[in-house]
């Protein structure tokens, strides 16, 4: 694999795809779709190749030498800019155990959502161009090791998402799109401020021996690179690190979404077309928690330790609040959206534990939530395509009308409920094992366990309302799954079942990095 720029290809092949799509004539609708499918397939293959060549014993996290598939070139360099010295930004990509599972997840979800996009009628050319741009930006966020690059990808992601919801969405699409946009943009501002603060607080030594301010995330994690008077330097007694941490956390929390910044999510989901909901829940939400793990925790380990109880508390609020809100919904898709909030709470709780078990659980939960929730949104989409309604009280007895579909529904629902043998349970259990082991958050962890019960409550109730009982006359013409829908659901089901029984396939990728990160947080600035 030496010298093969696998990560750059992963990130930029969608851009090439987008250009092709835009150049194709309007009439070549199918070619547009097949181009997208080809791009996402290549990405999926590349991600699998990457995992197969992945060194499980290399930690990464803060150590540049144990990152894998690194690509680093100077992107921007302007020497001697007034009092700023050399201005430089790197194009710096790399993976470790924290990002590898999520890169794989993204490629899987984008691949599957392509099939789901097949039925898009309204100007498919524009849709798929935006879809591919979103894909590229997402990949870039997971792979960037330079804060500026990370920020660029982060903000680029907004644009396609805004249009995908705002043009291809439901009746209230404009409202939902603008809400999503402003929320994330607001977070982005906080991130920008923190980023600039960090930039002026640390320096790295360039090849020519001069010192320069830096956006390099790994340098920013290294406490020895900070200046004594930097505004976010731990060496500066009057530093603003606490405020910066909060700001950065809010930026990420919006994406998760964490209570009380979550209200954009149900609206976005309800209005977004099915494939975009799948991508949103399957991949984009993980960007928030990933950002916290990749940036907030190792750059501010001191403040992370200080605030872990609060992070755990917000995790538990997400779990319980999301579950309770889900229980009261009458719209199928909104219910799944709130359940998504609840399930992301487990990720936060696991991260708050600052233990290996909790972190493993959190990252694994990100992956599992990605696959399971993708299934759930596909399931909602399938019924909405046929019945053009999502009212939970309008259905019943679909188990007899659509038995194969209901089989997949049962697997997905029980995976979401956290049934052992399916992947969701393993990660939830690891989260609880990790969080319960830490005395300070033990009590709130026990409250969080209510989520196990509430989750089972609203999921099984939904199962009963929509699938059990007898079929109302008006749904007697509904057809069972077609080949395209099976193509989407079967791979996800296999992943959910296999990872439930053999979680090591996924966990082994991350354990080394996780242990290293946990150790780093515990020992740095202590």
């Amino acid at each position: 694999m030496q010298g093969f720029p696998i990560l750059t290809i992963l990130t930029f092949i969608p851009i090439i795809g987008m250009i092709i799509v835009l150049l194709l004539p309007k009439s070549a609708e199918n070619n547009v779709k097949y181009t997208t499918l080809a791009v996402t397939s290549i990405q999926l293959v590349l991600a699998i190749v990457m995992i197969l060549n992945f060194d499980y014993s290399a930690a990464g996290v803060f150590d540049v030498n144990s990152f894998q598939f690194i690509e680093k070139v100077r992107w921007i360099q302007i020497p001697d800019v007034a009092f700023l010295g050399t201005l430089k930004i790197d194009y710096f990509l790399g993976v470790d155990g924290l990002s590898a599972p999520l890169v794989l997840l993204s490629t899987i979800i984008f691949f599957i959502a392509t099939f789901s996009s097949w039925t898009i009628k309204k100007s498919p050319k524009g849709y798929f161009a935006m879809y591919l741009l979103l894909n590229a930006a997402t990949m870039g966020v997971f792979l960037s090791l330079d804060f500026f690059l990370f920020f660029v990808f982060w903000e680029v992601m907004l644009l396609p998402m805004y249009f995908l919801i705002g043009i291809w969405g439901g009746p209230r699409k404009e409202y939902a799109a603008i809400k999503f946009f402003i929320y994330t943009m607001l977070g982005g501002v906080f991130m920008l401020i923190t980023m600039i603060g960090l930039y002026f607080s640390a320096t790295e030594i360039l090849a020519d021996g001069t010192q320069a301010y830096t956006f390099n995330l790994l340098t920013l994690m290294d406490q020895s690179s900070y200046l004594t008077d930097g505004i976010l330097s731990p060496l500066n007694p009057n530093n603003w690190r606490f405020m910066a941490y909060i700001g950065l956390f809010v930026a990420f929390a919006v994406k998760i979404p964490m209570f009380p910044f979550h209200t954009w999510l149900p609206d976005a989901h309800v209005e977004a077309p099915t494939p975009i909901s799948v991508v949103l829940a399957g991949v984009l939400l993980k960007l928030g928690t990933y950002g916290i793990l990749r940036i907030s925790f190792p750059i501010f380990p001191d403040i992370t330790r200080e605030l872990m109880w609060y992070i755990g508390l917000f995790g538990v609020i997400n779990i319980v609040y999301g579950a309770l809100a889900a229980m009261a919904q009458k719209d199928y898709k909104k219910l799944i959206a709130y359940s998504s909030i609840s399930h992301m709470g487990y990720v936060l709780l696991g991260m708050a534990s600052l233990t290996s078990t909790g972190f493993n659980g959190a990252i694994f939960q990100m992956f599992n939530h990605g696959t399971i929730t993708a299934m759930l949104f596909l399931i909602v989409g399938i019924i909405y395509d046929r019945a053009h309604t999502r009212g939970l009280y309008e259905f019943g007895g679909l188990a007899n009308q659509m038995p194969i579909y209901t089989g997949f529904v049962t697997v997905a629902f029980f995976a979401a409920v956290g049934l052992p043998g399916l992947s969701g349970w393993v990660s939830e259990a690891l989260v609880f094992v990790g969080a319960f082991g830490v005395e300070s958050i033990r009590t709130i962890t026990m409250i969080g366990m209510l989520g196990i019960l509430l989750g089972a409550g609203y999921m099984l109730w939904t199962l009963q309302r929509v699938y059990l009982g007898t079929v109302p006359e008006k749904w007697k013409q509904l057809k069972d799954l077609d080949g395209r829908e099976l193509t989407m659901l079967i791979p996800l089901t296999i992943i959910v079942v296999v990872l439930g029984s053999f979680p090591s396939f996924m966990l082994d990728i991350m354990t080394t990095s996780v242990n290293s990160l946990v150790d780093f947080i515990a020992t740095t600035l202590n």
């Binding site: 009380p260 309770l324 319960f436 019960l453 089972a456 409550g457 242990n515 150790d519």
Partner: protein, 706 residues
């Protein structure tokens, strides 16, 4: 046969039904005969279980065979060291007994169901579900650690959900399945917390390793209180699964499932899993934890018995009787009568399985009539069902020569001995009372169903004895309800082989946290949990009790036996007086004791109370949260948007009228000045010269030197 062969056998037995599940589920619709595959596979599992049991009990009688493998390796974890999560299989004597019980009843239920479920729309799926249930149950049985038990515990919950709701077109069935799953989940949360307490302290889920740690004096978080808490919390799982008060509500509703399922899951095996779990963790229960367990069991046994007295649905009576008997077993474990608790688990599995299948036979022949008031006189029509059912009834009533007599009598003696030693006399008093009630309501059931005159002539005329596929399982189970399979001496179970297979595990709890009678007499402690490097241990004659206890037990053995027989006879007599000889009119009695009768008939209104207190309040809360989210949280968001727009409007106004106004004003002023000054632009050179001259003079005046 080496030890590792036994392990492989156990694994094979475990996975056979799972294979059956997948194959029948995926292809059952296309190949209608595929259910035979599942039936065949479970028969093989039964034969293998018998073989495993024979080998274990003859060649490795005193060995605990354990094998472990790493499931999740978390690597070198900071501040803990190398951490891995292991799963494993443990085979000791009670494992092989349970393997036999589960596979036997499962096999019989499979055959029974072929006839019972004939013509059902989802016939093959039913067999697939039986397969996954058997798989999950066997997983609990052979697990060597709490995590694996928890995994299969939940899977049992799933299979139970699927089978209770098998006829999901009925709202009552899908309601019942959901209730069962959720009630179990409540218990499971407690159980999970208990497991987490132990894992946090010992970094292992394995029973043997946990026991070893406690035996070495390491208690959770350094306090015996936490050990008690861990025991009670894990026991909460059993409260859910074994339908103990206050989580018993799901079991009677679970009767919505097909009757053979009730026999398999809700009488013989799954509900016994709770008892099995408590037996597994018995060694770490402190005195306080045991007392809690004993009280819960006692309360459950009497509570359910009082309800069973007045029910008219044949399956409901059996369901409450199951709850009551499970309470017995839990009570017995709580008072330390470990062997009798497990003994009763086994005998109860057979005779209760028998009675459920018997009721299935009746319901089948009565065309799905379950109300006993529509029955009567069936003994002439269904002699085999009647006789086998009667044997089961005698067994549960504790009449001598039956298996139930052996286990129940010992169990009651255990409570009495416990009371003698600790002063908790209420426990045996309730225990004996329940025995009386049990004999009464079970004979009430038999008399109403099989004796007397038919109350519904039409249904009676159509009734018939069930086919051989259904009666043979009844005969086999009836045979197993006779004493001879357990002991040659019908009044002394301890002289039998079965009783000696069961070993009471040695308590590992610190001495100060045990009951006095469980403190070791120094000279009596022989065996211990010596686990050698190969991961095998020994269950060699672990001594848990002091001589004091043996003495007390010995003293009450015969008195307890006599009293329990007298109570059983009294109960039976009362049933005959009311329902056979009609000396007492049950309706008049009910009228006289109206409030009590209502309380019993309406199941103490527990469902209504829970619904009001918990379900409705939870739904209220969820509606409130949803409103709060839409109105307050999102309201703030929308309000800030409005506010921003408002500010933007003000800014816009300011911009238009003030900022731009200033610009325009400037322009206006310039224009005005321009207009005014236009007048002096005359175009005449003379005028300009005058201006220039005057200007020069003024400038000179201003700049003049002083």
């Amino acid at each position: 046969m080496s030890e590792s062969n036994l392990i492989s056998l156990a694994v094979t037995i475990l996975f056979l039904p799972l294979i059956g599940f997948f194959i029948v589920l995926l292809f059952g619709k296309r190949f209608k005969q595929l259910y035979k595959f599942e039936v065949g596979i479970i028969t093989v599992a039964l034969l293998l279980s018998i073989f495993t049991g024979v080998v274990k009990l003859t060649n490795y009688f005193n060995n605990i065979i354990i094998t472990q493998f790493t499931w999740i390796d978390l690597g070198n974890v900071p501040s803990i060291g190398h951490l891995s999560i292991n799963l494993g299989i443990m085979i000791d004597n009670i494992t092989v007994i349970m393997l036999f019980v589960v596979t036997l009843i499962s096999t019989l239920v499979h055959y029974f169901s072929i006839a019972y479920m004939e013509g059902d729309a989802r016939f093959s799926r039913y067999f697939a579900y039986l397969g996954i249930f058997t798989f999950s149950m066997l997983g609990i049985v052979i697990a060597d650690n709490l995590l694996m038990i928890y995994i299969f515990w939940e899977l049992v919950g799933l299979s139970s959900y699927l089978l209770i709701g098998f006829w999901y077109e009925k709202k009552s069935a899908s309601d019942a399945s959901m209730k069962a799953f959720l009630a179990n989940r409540i218990g499971d949360i407690g159980m999970f917390i208990g497991i987490l307490i132990l894992f946090t302290n010992y970094h292992t889920f394995s029973f043997q390793d946990i026991f070893q740690n406690i035996a070495n004096g390491v208690v959770p978080f350094g306090s015996n209180g936490w050990l008690t808490a861990a025991g009670i919390l894990v026991f909460m799982g059993a409260v859910g699964k074994s339908a103990q008060v206050p989580l018993h509500i799901w079991l009677p509703d679970a009767m919505e499932g097909p009757t053979p399922v009730s026999a398999l899951i809700h009488a013989a095996t799954m509900v016994a899993a709770g008892v099995y779990l408590v037996a597994r963790i018995f060694a770490l229960l402190t005195a306080d934890a045991m007392l809690v367990i004993a009280v819960v069991g006692t309360v459950t046994s009497i509570f359910a018995a009082t309800i069973a007295l007045t029910q008219n649905d044949i399956k409901k009576v059996l369901a409450y009787s199951t709850v009551s008997q499970l309470g017995y077993m839990i009570m017995a474990l709580g008072v330390g009568a470990y062997k009798f608790a497990f003994f009763h688990l086994v005998t109860h599995a057979f005779f209760k399985g028998l009675m459920f299948l018997g009721s299935g036979s009746v319901i089948h022949s009565m065309h799905h009539e379950q109300d006993m008031r529509q029955m009567g006189g069936l003994k002439k029509k269904m002699p085999i069902t009647y006789i086998t059912f009667l044997i089961g009834t005698l067994a549960i009533s504790g009449v001598p020569l039956t298996s139930g007599f052996l286990s129940k009598d010992g169990l009651l003696a255990g409570t009495w001995a416990f009371a003698d030693l600790t002063g908790h006399y209420l426990i045996p008093i309730i225990g004996f009372t329940v025995a009386l009630m049990t004999a009464f309501y079970m004979f009430r059931l038999v008399l109403m169903t099989f004796h007397g005159e038919p109350r519904n002539q039409h249904k009676f005329d159509n009734a018939h004895e069930s086919p051989k596929l259904m009666t043979i399982p009844l005969i086999i189970l009836a045979a197993l309800s006779i004493f001879i399979f357990y002991t040659p001496n019908p009044v002394a179970p301890s002289e039998g082989w079965f009783f000696n297979w069961i070993k009471t595990p040695q308590s590992v709890v610190p001495e100060e946290a045990r009951f006095d009678f469980m403190k070791s007499d120094a000279h009596k402690v022989e065996g211990s949990l010596n686990k050698d490097v190969h991961g095998s241990g020994s269950e060699n004659a672990a001594i848990t009790y002091s001589e004091m206890y043996e003495h007390a037990m010995h003293k009450v053995h015969y008195p307890a036996m006599i009293i329990s027989v007298i109570f059983a006879v009294l109960g039976i007599l009362l049933a005959f007086l009311m329902y056979e000889w009609k000396k007492i009119d049950p309706d008049k009695l009910a009228e006289k004791l109206k409030p009590l009768y209502n309380l019993s008939y309406h199941k103490w209104y527990i469902d209504e109370i829970y619904s009001f207190l918990f379900v409705e309040r939870l739904l209220d809360l969820s509606r409130f949260i949803s409103w709060f989210d839409a109105t307050v949280v999102d309201g703030i968001v929308n309000y800030s948007a409005t506010l921003t727009r408002g500010i933007a409007n003000i800014t816009g106004w300011f911009d238009t009228y003030i900022v731009d106004g200033l610009v325009n004003f400037t322009a206006f002023i310039s224009g005005f000045v321009g207009l005014s000054l236009r007048k002096i632009q005359t175009g005449k050179v003379q005028t300009y010269i005058v201006y220039v001259v005057f200007s020069v003079i003024i400038i000179l005046l201003i700049l003049r030197p002083f």
